[in-house]
Symmetry: C2
Subunit: 256 residues, 2 copies
């Protein structure tokens, strides 16, 4: 039985892509079969995995085929990088938002595409764009659970509440089994009072839903992305590797 | 003659909202009449200006009226905060992306709405969402120039090139006068090698288009947003106030 997890929040720069690739790498290192899906037209996950962002076919072509009623098997746009399978994205995906508007069952295209993949992988991790549009709705509809990364600051906390409202709507109308796996604080700096204050506000409001692990600010995470590798391959002893390893362990514990 | 400036890049967390409110405040302090427009469904600019994010009528209602062929005068959804006029946003705006798809002239709705406002204000500053969708296209079509904020890291630099391609398309098909006012490095830390390296890569590629001022990382900028005020009202002696003041001066010099 596979677990499909979306990494989502509409606030930009929350650490969605960084969390997607490094969580996936942790799970791979634990011997799990992992599939990454890049659902952001920016193609940052594709780039972080070391692929060119205009690689084809990609998830845009999957949506096009499915929208036209054609078949798109899982390996139609499957690539391999960092010992993990990935369905890449490209800038073309920005067109899907508009192209899918009038397609019947448009919210369930990704769910349909991943039906086969669920039999092959232990985990499917979906990186979402910074928006609550058709792409993120497709991801949430296809998912069993959601991880919500956010910086412990004012604007991200404000945005999180709106995100929860939109997620509720998806749960009610499209995917009743969708659950919040947890909130992950990223770029955390223990010395910043605002980080501490927002962290305790979040814990007061959501209790155990907030992951105990906080991802500390660590430039190695950005350097790994530049090299196109995950943090464990780039610098096993970095804070980033330690934090994402602890986080990965918490994720596995929550799914037992 | 007024200057309409979009603050845009699809990379999330680049400092678009922080730049919009603080550039506008600098221009206000120089005696200019300024209008802020929040074109992001997250409504971060609305929140940073101290307004509630569900305030109505807002830009969503403007688009709805214009799409229905009705009139929407400038003061239809005008509020005042921090001694500046602002057209706020709300979560409803996320629906506009889909609602505008089949509307004739959908890319020019904001341009149409701001025609009157150009006579009243010296500057109109538009905060864009982290996406290259219908909302950002409306902003670029309505604008004279664009300021592109980005962190000096790998993913933002990669994303910037795609953004420039999309901007070219808008210039060719919708707004031939659109110009890049410049690239602004945000959350800059002189000690980080990656920041220095990306900064010199950007200067090599775009020369004088890169603003000399770099906005240093400064928690006061986030604290000001929490209080709903601009950095000059919050902490006049902070690095954030100094940097946005120097930046504002550079903007005025480029427009002489
Ligand atoms: N813990 C961290 N420490 C330092 N840098 C980080 C950390 N997490 C992410 N980053 C950097 O911050 C930037 C934003 O992170 P990332 O791109 O993962 O966020 P995102 O939510 O996916 O952004 P978007 O909204 O654009 O999709 C990137 O340049 C990334 O390298
Ligand atoms: N120079 C800075 N120093 C410290 N924090 C900053 C700075 N600039 C912005 N921030 C903070 O970083 C976060 C992201 O900035 P901001 O929201 O302005 O970016 P954005 O590009 O508008 O994001 P989005 O893509 O979600 O619209 C905010 O919490 C903001 O307070
Ligand atoms: Mg991302
Ligand atoms: Mg913003």
């Amino acid at each position: 039985k596979s677990e499909v997890i979306s990494i989502a929040i509409q606030k930009g720069g929350s650490g969605k892509t960084t969390t997607a690739i490094n969580l996936a790498a942790y799970l791979r290192n634990q011997g799990k079969k992992v599939l990454l899906v890049d659902l952001d037209p920016q193609a940052n996950l594709t780039q972080s995995a070391g692929l060119q962002e205009e690689v084809e076919p990609n998830i845009y072509h999957v949506f096009k085929r499915l929208a036209a009623g054609q078949d798109a098997p899982v390996d139609f746009s499957l690539f391999r990088s960092n010992d993990m399978d990935i369905i890449p994205s490209s800038l073309d995906l920005a067109m899907s938002e508009m192209e899918l508007v009038s397609i019947f069952g448009r919210e369930k295209l990704l769910q349909q595409h991943l039906r086969e993949a669920r039999k092959k992988y232990d985990f499917i991790i979906i990186d979402c764009p910074p928006a609550m549009g058709m792409l993120t709705i497709n991801a949430l509809t296809a998912s069993d659970s959601v991880i919500i990364p956010l910086q412990a600051e004012f604007l991200p906390l404000k945005g999180m509440r709106n995100f929860m409202k939109s997620m509720e709507t998806v749960r009610k109308n499209l995917n009743p089994k969708l659950k919040v796996l947890g909130f992950l604080l990223t770029k955390f700096d223990q010395r910043k009072i605002m980080n501490q204050r927002v962290a305790s506000q979040l814990s007061r409001q959501y209790g155990d839903k907030v992951f105990k692990t906080r991802i500390r600010t660590n430039i190695a995470l950005a350097q790994a992305q530049e090299k196109g590798v995950d943090i464990f391959s780039f610098s096993r002893r970095s804070n980033g590797a330690e934090d994402y390893s602890n986080f990965g362990e918490e994720v596995l514990n929550r799914l037992r």
